[in-house]
C-alpha cells in the first residue's frame, strides 16, 4: 500500500483534497477524519471545504486554526452562532459549556433551538450540530454550570475563551479566571436591538469596567429580551475576534468596546 502522503498527493485536485478522498483516506489508513485533515494541512494542501477561505486564510493559517482549542461558555443565542462559525472556520477543538436545556422561548433566536431539540441539553445538541457540519472538528460538550471550582478544568489548554453567558456575575467570574489562567477572552452581550463586543487580554480589566456599576445580574435585556438578528450579529463579531487572536492578525477590540445599535444602525467605539 502506498503511504498516506502519496495517496493524498495522487488524489490532489488543484491544491485541494475532496471530502470523499479525505473519508477514503481515513478508512484506508485507519485514522480519524481529523488526523487526515491535519496531514492534508501539514502538507500545505487544503481540504476542499475550505476553498472559499483560502484567499482570506492561508493553508498554514488553516492548520493553525485546526490545531487550536477554543472554549465557548454558554450555548444559547450567542454561543450557538459562535460554535457554528468556529466549526465552519475550521477551528479543530471546541469546548461547549452549558448546563441548560432548550425551551420554547429560545426558538426566536437560538440557532440550535429547533422543534426537535426542545428539552434537550444545549451542549449535546451543539456537539451533534458541529459533527454534522465538520466531522474534523472535535467538540467536547460540558453540561455543567461554569464555576470557580470547574473553571480550570474547563478552560485548560484553550487559546481563547468566548463569553456567551447571560448573567453579569458569571461573566465577571469568567473574566477573573481568564486573567488568572492567562487566556484571552472575547466578550459579547446583547439586549434588544443593541449589543456590545470587547476583547480582554490577561492583565486588562475591560469587563470589570463595563460592569463596574452593575448590582443586578441582568442588564436591560431583562425587559427588552432579544430578537433573532442581534445574537447573530454580535456572535459574528466575536468569532472574527477569535479568528484574529488565533492567527495573530488584524486589530483587536482591546481596551475598547464596540457598542452596536441595530435600530439606528450605528456602531460606537468606546475607549476603556
Amino acid at each position: 500500500m502506498v503511504s498516506l502522503s502519496e495517496f493524498l498527493l495522487s488524489r490532489l485536485e488543484g491544491e485541494m483534497i475532496s471530502w470523499q478522498v479525505q473519508q477514503e483516506a481515513a478508512s484506508r489508513y485507519k485514522q480519524t477524519i481529523g488526523q487526515i485533515e491535519e496531514e492534508i494541512l501539514s502538507a500545505g494542501f487544503l481540504p476542499a471545504r475550505y476553498q472559499r477561505n483560502r484567499k482570506t486564510i492561508s493553508a498554514a493559517e488553516q492548520l493553525t486554526l485546526f490545531r487550536s482549542r477554543v472554549t465557548v461558555i454558554g450555548c444559547g443565542g450567542l454561543g450557538g452562532y459562535v460554535l457554528e462559525e468556529l466549526a465552519r472556520l475550521g477551528v479543530g477543538q471546541l469546548v461547549a459549556v452549558d448546563h441548560d436545556v432548550f425551551e420554547e422561548h429560545n426558538l426566536n433566536r437560538q440557532l440550535l433551538a429547533t422543534m426537535s431539540t426542545l428539552g434537550r441539553f444545549k451542549a449535546e445538541v451543539a456537539a451533534e450540530r458541529i459533527a454534522s457540519i465538520n466531522p474534523s472538528v472535535e467538540l467536547v460538550p460540558i453540561k455543567e454550570v461554569f464555576s470557580r471550582e470547574n473553571s480550570e478544568r474547563l478552560l485548560a489548554g484553550s487559546q481563547v475563551v468566548v463569553d456567551c453567558l447571560d448573567t453579569i456575575g458569571t461573566r465577571l467570574l469568567l473574566s477573573s479566571v481568564c486573567g488568572e489562567l492567562a487566556i484571552p477572552l472575547v466578550h459579547g452581550a446583547i439586549c434588544g436591538w443593541f449589543g456590545q463586543v470587547a476583547t480582554q487580554f490577561p492583565g486588562e480589566d475591560t469587563l470589570g469596567k463595563l460592569y463596574l456599576r452593575c448590582t443586578e445580574d441582568r442588564g436591560m435585556e431583562k425587559i427588552y429580551g432579544n430578537p433573532s438578528f442581534t445574537p447573530a450579529a454580535v456572535a459574528s463579531l466575536q468569532t472574527a475576534e477569535v479568528c484574529k487572536i488565533l492567527l495573530g492578525r488584524g486589530s483587536l477590540l482591546r481596551k475598547r468596546v464596540l457598542y452596536l445599535n441595530l435600530l439606528a444602525m450605528e456602531m460606537d467605539e468606546l475607549q476603556l
Binding site: G74, G76, G77, L78, G79, D163, C164, L165, D166, T167, I168, R171, G188, A189, I190, C191, G192, W193, F194, G195, Q196, K209, L210, Y211, L212, R213, C214, T215, E216, D217, R218, G219, M220, E221, I223, Y224, G225, N226, P231, Y259, N261, A264, D268, L270, Q271, L272
Partner: protein, 75 residues
C-alpha cells in the same frame, strides 16, 4: 449658565433623545443629569465625559459631552 451635550445610547433613547444640549445654572454631577432625565441608577452602566470613562459622581464642566450607556448582559 453652562452648557452640556448629553448623548444617550441604546435603550436609554426610548422616550428620550439621541443627543441634546442642556443648560445648567450650576455645574451638575452626572448623577444629577441622569436623575433629571429620569434614568434610574441601575440603568446607567457607563458614563463617559468627552470620550473618557468617569465616575458618575463627576461634576460636569461647561462644554462637556456626556455619554450614558445602559447595562447589556444578555447572551
Amino acid at each position: 449658565m453652562m452648557k452640556v451635550t448629553v448623548k444617550l445610547f441604546a435603550t436609554l433613547r426610548h422616550n428620550r433623545f439621541k443627543v441634546a444640549e442642556h443648560e445648567y445654572s450650576a455645574a451638575p454631577t452626572i448623577l444629577a443629569v441622569a436623575e433629571e432625565l429620569g434614568i434610574p441608577r441601575e440603568e446607567m452602566a457607563l458614563a463617559m465625559v468627552n470620550g473618557v470613562l468617569v465616575s458618575v459622581e463627576q461634576v460636569l464642566q461647561n462644554g462637556d459631552t456626556l455619554s450614558i450607556f445602559p447595562p447589556i448582559g444578555g447572551g
